[in-house]
Each structure stands twice: as C-alpha cells, then as structure tokens.
Symmetry: C3
Subunit: 355 residues, 3 copies
C-alpha cells in the first residue's frame, strides 16, 4: 500500500476552505493497474489534475500534474527510474512530489515541489484519497474487490468519459428498469417484466442495496450469446451502491432449476464493478469491469460478454448525455418521480447528507 504524504499547496489550502462539490474523506477510483506502463498518465479527478506513474519500488505515485517551474503538465514528460521528468526544462520529481534535479543548477529551492496524493493499488484497481483539512491522510484501506483476484472469474474493463455529472450514472445503475427500453439489443429482455418485477430496496447512511428477481422470462441477447440456456430463465439483479462505486451482480439459471436468491446459485453470472469518479461538476469518468464465470470456451465467452457490455454502456452514455444536454437546455424544471426512483433517490440523499 502506498500512502504518500499529502502536501497541499497554498492555493489548495484556499480551495480547502471552500465547500467541496463532492463527498471527501474517501477513496475514489483513479485507474487500473494495467494503465501504468512506460509513460506517465494524466487524469483529472474531482477537479484535481493529477499525473500517475510507478516509483522505483513499483508503487503507484500520484502528483499534481503541473511542473512548479512553468506549469507544463508533468504527464507530457517522461519517466526515469521511477521519477517523472518535465518535458520542457527537465526538472525531475520523485514520488513524493519533491524536485530532485534542476538541470544546470546545483541548488534546488525548497519551494520546488508539487502536491502528492495518497494512492493505493488493490485488486488491479488504483484508488486515490481525497480528504479535507481534517483528514488529509486515509482513515482506512481502500476497498477490496476480490472478483479481480480470486481466479474464479474472467474479466476485462475500460474507462468511459461522460459529459454529464457523476450522479446521473448512479441514477442509471440503481434503476435497472431502463433495460427494457434502452438495452433491447443486449441485456434488455421484456420491458413489462422488468418494470413489474418486485424490487426490494434497503439502505443505510452510506450504501443502498437493491435486489430484483424476474422469473420465467425470455433470455436477452447477451445471455443467449454467452450461455447455453435451454429456454426461459429465472434472473437476478443485485445492486450495491457505495458513494464512489457500485457492485452489480446479475445472472440467470434455467427456469425453475434452482433458487436464484441463493448466493451459491449456478447458471450464468455477470459481475460488474462500476467506479464513478467525478472529473468536474459536469463531467465524470466511468471505470468499469465486467467479470463472468467460466463456462465452456471461457476466453471466447468473456470476449463476447465484454463486447456486449460495451454496446450496452454505449447505449447508456448516449441516453445520459442527451438527458444532461436537455437538462441544460431547459434549466431547473421540476421532475416527476415514479416508482423506479426509490433507490436512486436514496443514493442522492446519502450524497446530499455528506456534502
């Protein structure tokens, strides 16, 4: 676990006194382990432009993405033995953000440094801590996600950029009733069955849990493509919302063959990890992986599931960005709630409480 010392600059301090637009004192997803290869990676998270790279020990470092000399993004530079070198005049920064070389100059001013952020790499996910003045350092470890590590699943993933506020993706994922309208070509299935399925919603002050079971329904395209179902199926959808990410476990068994509410159920499984990290107030990163249980031809099945998932998420992105553009066009107008909004509204209340 890498926990760097967070070094706020004077201007960060000023920012700290402003109310944050996002819940702080928690881990947010910043990227995947496989993204850190030979070059520094630049990404803006919660309005902070950050450069990521591996230090000499292989641990992930996260620095303010701005050379303290003339403001070039350090992510435009190069890596050298676990330090990042600016691409303009060659200043070299270590994983703590300290300038350790100014080419052609012996003395390095103490002011020559950039902020470092606490990061943790766990189960192939890179997490970053954004804390307030009271909790600049993490108060606990980053979330585990052993689906990526247990060997029981095959998975892959990607990161989508959204021109929409991050909570609109929460809304979307906490209400899978949209599957019958938005995702008819992939994971949809019969709209009426989706809409009429009994939905149980539970929540506490930092999470929401939604479960739905749909019995004796026709398998949707993605399911048929991935698994040899004999006919109709019994489906489950279990959604767990946390402030920075959601876990969604869906799947199905042949109709009437076993209990879909039993966690040890067989059949076809899709386990989604969904890290939703604000970029700015009006844009976000959507980090997702999709894992599937190996059936016959595991690698080919996984490829098929990932392909279908990308189609599905493309459909969501089109809808959500159109929705947000229309909200900007119409301005602040009342919205009429319907039955499917119970879970999304609880998630919104949790975030409202935190702010």
């Amino acid at each position: 676990m890498t926990v760097s010392v967070f070094t706020p600059t004077s201007s960060d301090k000023t920012e700290g006194s402003k109310k944050s637009s996002f819940p702080l004192n928690r881990w947010y997803v910043a990227g995947y382990s496989w993204e850190l290869k030979g070059l520094p990676l630049g990404r803006t998270l919660l309005n902070h432009a950050i450069v990521f790279f591996r230090s000499a020990t292989g641990e992930v470092a996260a620095l303010e993405d701005r050379c303290c000399h003339r403001a070039l993004p350090l992510s435009n530079g190069t890596l050298e033995n676990g330090a990042v070198r600016c691409g303009y005049h060659g200043l070299l920064f270590n994983e703590a953000g300290k300038c350790i070389e100014i080419p052609g100059q012996d003395k390095i001013p103490t002011r020559a440094k950039v902020a470092a952020y606490p990061v943790e790499e766990r189960d192939q996910i890179i997490w970053i801590w954004f804390g307030d003045a009271e909790h600049p350092a993490p108060t606990g470890p980053a979330p585990a996600y052993d689906i990526h590590s247990s060997g029981k699943y095959l998975y892959d993933g990607s990161v989508y950029h959204y021109n929409a506020p991050y909570q609109m993706i929460h809304d979307n994922l906490l209400d899978l009733s949209h599957l019958g309208y938005v995702h008819l070509k992939t994971i949809g299935g019969n709209a009426k069955i989706h809409m009429n399925a009994e939905t149980k919603v539970e929540s506490d002050d930092s999470s929401v849990r939604v479960v739905r079971y749909m019995y004796d329904s026709e398998p949707p395209a993605t399911y048929t493509a991935a698994y040899p179902f004999k006919g109709n199926i019994d489906r489950w959808q279990e959604i767990e919302f946390h402030v920075s990410h959601l876990l969604i476990w869906t799947g199905a068994v042949d109709v009437g063959t076993e209990s879909v509410t039993d966690p040890d159920r067989g059949g076809f499984h899709m386990r989604g990890f969904h890290g939703i990290t604000p970029e700015t107030e009006t844009s976000c990163h959507y980090f997702w992986t999709m894992a599937t249980n190996p059936v016959h031809e595991p690698e080919a099945t996984k490829e098929k599931v990932i392909e279908q998932t990308m189609l599905t998420f493309d459909e969501d992105k089109a809808i959500i960005e159109a929705q947000y553009a229309n909200m900007q066009k119409f301005g602040d107008r009342p919205m009429v709630d319907i039955h499917v909004d119970v879970a999304p509204n609880r998630a919104r209340r949790i975030i409202e409480q935190l702010l």
Copy 2:
C-alpha cells in the same frame, strides 16, 4: 386542422412574463409534412425545444421535448400508435402531452404531462403557433400556400440551419441586388443591371412588397440551364415579406415578347417559399421550397432548378454567417445605409414595432 390546447408549465409562465425576443401571436414554420415519418422529430423553435409526431388520427402533434420524469428528449424515443414513448423508462405521452402510461406503475400522477403547442398542417407545411398570455390559442388559420397544392408547379425544398439571427436572412431576401456579387455562378447576371434596376417598395404594418423589373439582360446560369431562352431576357422579381415568411416570385421571358408585369406572364418561373424561424436569438432555421413551372422534361428541369437553388443558398449562408461572425468580432458599430436597404429596413421596423 390540429389545434391542441397549450398547457404552459410553471416555468413557461415565468418566461411568459419576460419580454419575448421574437414577435408572438403568429404562425411560424416548424417543418414539412414529409419530415414526419416513423420517428419523432426534435427541433428548437423560438427557444422552445419541441418534438413533432403524428397522432393516431394522422394529425401533427407538437410537445415540449422533455420527458417530465428525468428530462430525456422525447425525440430520442419511439412512436407507438400515435403516442410517443420515452427512450429511458418508457413513459408514454399522447398528442395532448398527457402521460398515459408509466410502465410498472398503476397510478399516473396528474403532474405527469408536458406542454402541447398548437400546430397546423397546410399545403405540406407544418406551422406552429407561439402566443403570449393573452393569445395562447391561434387567432386564425395558418397561411395557405397553394403553389404546393395547385398542381401547376413542380417543387422541392429543404431546411438550412444558420448560425446567425433570423433577421439577417430577411435583409438578404429583401434585397436581391446582392445577386450580382454573391450569386454570379447561379442566378446572378450582370451586377450593374441588378443594382440599377428600378425598385418599387410598398409596405404596411405587417408586410413589405418589393418589385423589380430588369429588361434586356443576359440570362444567368440557372435560367439558361432550365429554360430554352433565345437570347436576352426581360426579368421580374417580386418579393413579399411577412413576419414569419417571405414569398419570392422571379422569372423571365424572351426580351420584348410579352409584359413581365402581367401576373399571367409566361416564360420561366421560380417561386420560392422562405420560412424563417428563429431557433435562438443567434441562430435560425431557414425552410425553403422552390417551385418551377413545367416546361419540357419537367422532372429533370425541377431537379436542375433545385440543384442550382441549393448552390445559391449555400453562397448566401457562407456570406451571412461570415457577416454575423464579423459583427460579433467588431461589436456594436454604426452601419452606413445605401439605396438597397429601403425594404430590409422597413421589415426591421415592422418587427421592432411588434416587440
């Protein structure tokens, strides 16, 4: 004739108390009959985002293009027996804007509705009424345009989007002296003859009429391509400005063969319909059709005339958008009027009076 009841939402009422940027209480062009096929059509007119579709009886409906649930444009949805279904959670709206189905929910809240606008379809043109608080419903029928219906002409048309305020297109169409500079490749002809032609301008409080006759001039490219003129021609240009649209009747006969001021004149005719509908204060839709009298090979002649008209209007669009971009760059600077501005200035005064 479809005259829906206009149902302003609370925020529309607020907007209603603001002074409109555009003359209200009149019909504006919203589209063509042939645009309403299998999918809902979204278009923003006078700052109102609107979705158009055909109801079960085949009449045109115009609703606020925003689902009352989560604001997705209804134009992203689908049509079902003359009602429009939202593409996110499947809410279904009838032609009056009333939500008639919420999938998975028995009770439909009375608040579940969107605004409906009065529309009328006449002579292949779809008109929409924008009224103020005093005249929410139309005070009369939409304008007729029997050139589209009489069978005496062949025509076609299109809609151009302009990044320029709508009145700049009025200016352009009311002053055809620009033909000799902008449209040399199509309908231009000799610039000096255009500029020196005697122009008669008449107006009242809601219309302007401009007539010009140009004798013994060389036929321009479009004319030669469409009609077997023997040599020089006598040309007419008759322009009628109304606040929401212009009618322009131009044409020519072989020089000296008959009176060009006689409405029953023969020769080659081009009858243009020009619906100019603001999209926002700084952009507009330009709906145009061009009709020509059938000579030899009527269909081929019409194709040629439409092709030439599109080239001509492309030239206008390039000029007007460059003009507007420059006005924004230079800001509010005095303009020097010249002789050709008489008619455009009268049209501007009419609109100023109406606001």
Copy 3:
C-alpha cells in the same frame, strides 16, 4: 514605403481610451510580401481585424476588415485595380479606406469609409503600426532585416497560429536550454551541455541579448543533416529580443578550428527571424523565417533546414499550448524560477514597463 493616414472610427476612439493589452507605438509583423497575391488577406492583429491587399501602385494597404455597409469582412471580397470590392453588395474601397463606388447609387456618403492602418513593406516583411492617440502615425521606419535581401543567405518561412499568449513564445525563444528536452530529434543535442553552458545576458529598456557558447559537443540531427561536420562541434547561440520580434543566430564550426565568438566565423549558420504578433490576449501569430548559408547543394540544404525547423517549431507549439491550457486549468498559481529564466524575465519586465 506606404504610410497611410490612420482614420480611427468613433468606436476606435473609445477603445483608444482603454489601456491597451499590448505595447503600442511600434511596428509589428503583419505578414510576408509573398502572401499578397490575387486575393485580399484577412488577419487579426492586436485585436484589430484587418484586410491586406496591394494598391494600384503595388504598395501594401491595410484596412479595417469590415464593410461599413453591413459588416461583411472585406477579405471575403475581391480585388479590382488595387481596390477591394465587398462580396455582398459590391461597395469598392481604395487603399485609404475611402468608399469610391456604391453600385447603383450616385452619391457616396462621407461616412462611407473604413479605417486605414500605416503599413510598411521592407525586406519581404510587411509591418503594421499600432499607435496610441499621441502617435497614430509611425515615429520612424520599420525595422530592416537584410538577411532576406543581402543575397548571402537562402531562406524560407511560414506563419504559425498559437492558442497561447504571445509572451509565452518570448519565454521559449529566450531560453534555449529547453532544446535538450523538447528538441532531441532536431536541434537538441546533449541536454546536460545545454543546461550547463555559460549564458551571458545583457539588456536595456527595450531589448535583451543572450549569448551562449557550447564547446566540443555532439552535433544534433539537423546540423548533421545540413552540413558535413567531421566530428564534435563548437556551437554558438546569440539571441536578440525586441518587443515585437527576435533575431536568433545559431551555428557551429568543427571543434577547435576557429573562434565561435567572432562574428565572421564560418561553419554552418542558421539565422532565424521571429515576429511574434498578438492576435488577442490569449492567441498570437508566430511569423518565422530561417536562413542558412549556402554550402554544397544550397537549395537542397535549405529545404532540409526548413523541414527540420518546422519539426522543431511543431514541438514548441505542442509544449507551449499544453503549458497554457494547464495554466488555465490551474489558475493563477505561483511559479518557481530557475537559472534559465533570467532572460525571459527581463523581457517580461520590459513589456511590463511599456504597458
């Protein structure tokens, strides 16, 4: 030499009373002689949109790029016997900005004119004068640049548009220490030698002069491509900053063969002219020519030097625009100066004094 009378419009007078963002009362580069061919040339300089063309006598004219009638850029028009004709209604303007023809109208109002700016064409460079209320007319001739005229050099050049404030290009050119990081593929060479080279900086109230000599270093790619060096080289870099342009004379001789500080030194020469003219506060034009002394195959060598120079300047543009975008993202944050900033900082102080 063309010195037109500057005719400020009423709105220019208003602007004149505001403090300019740029040093006035001096010549700025507006273009090259070879850019003025058959069509008028539009270019915005120091926030003034200007059209350039050759008058009947072949001298360069510079007018406000806005027809006084309906604001179309005159650069959208055509040239006719040394006058520019508007592309909308055909108004014709002479080199003094006076309207000399309104087609179809006998009387030309005295107000029908556009501002004219003093320009001077010298050594293939077109200069324009921007003066304040006290010095509307030039107080002296435009700078000479006989490298273009003496016949001792072959040269070529271009103009780059930058989405960055003009002073960021000054910073870049006054500190060639970045060559070892930014320009490794072209004119770079060994970064450490660049950074450690002794640098002498001299300045007065309107210029800065930087000289650096780097002995016994490996020739960079561009040098090897252009000149038959035998092995290591002794290099010189001499930079002269003036408020509107910089002159940079670099080159090298075979190591130890002659004094690189002697102005009559032989070897390989690159003489750069760099006219940096603000377009707006946040963008600029970078006019550059690169001249080289003819060695063997002079034309081919020049082509090679120009090609390498374009690659080099592409690299600079990428860095500087990324730097400026990051400055906008991070806002006004302190910068840490290092040893290489002496000359750039002096140039910034000169401009600060002038404003």
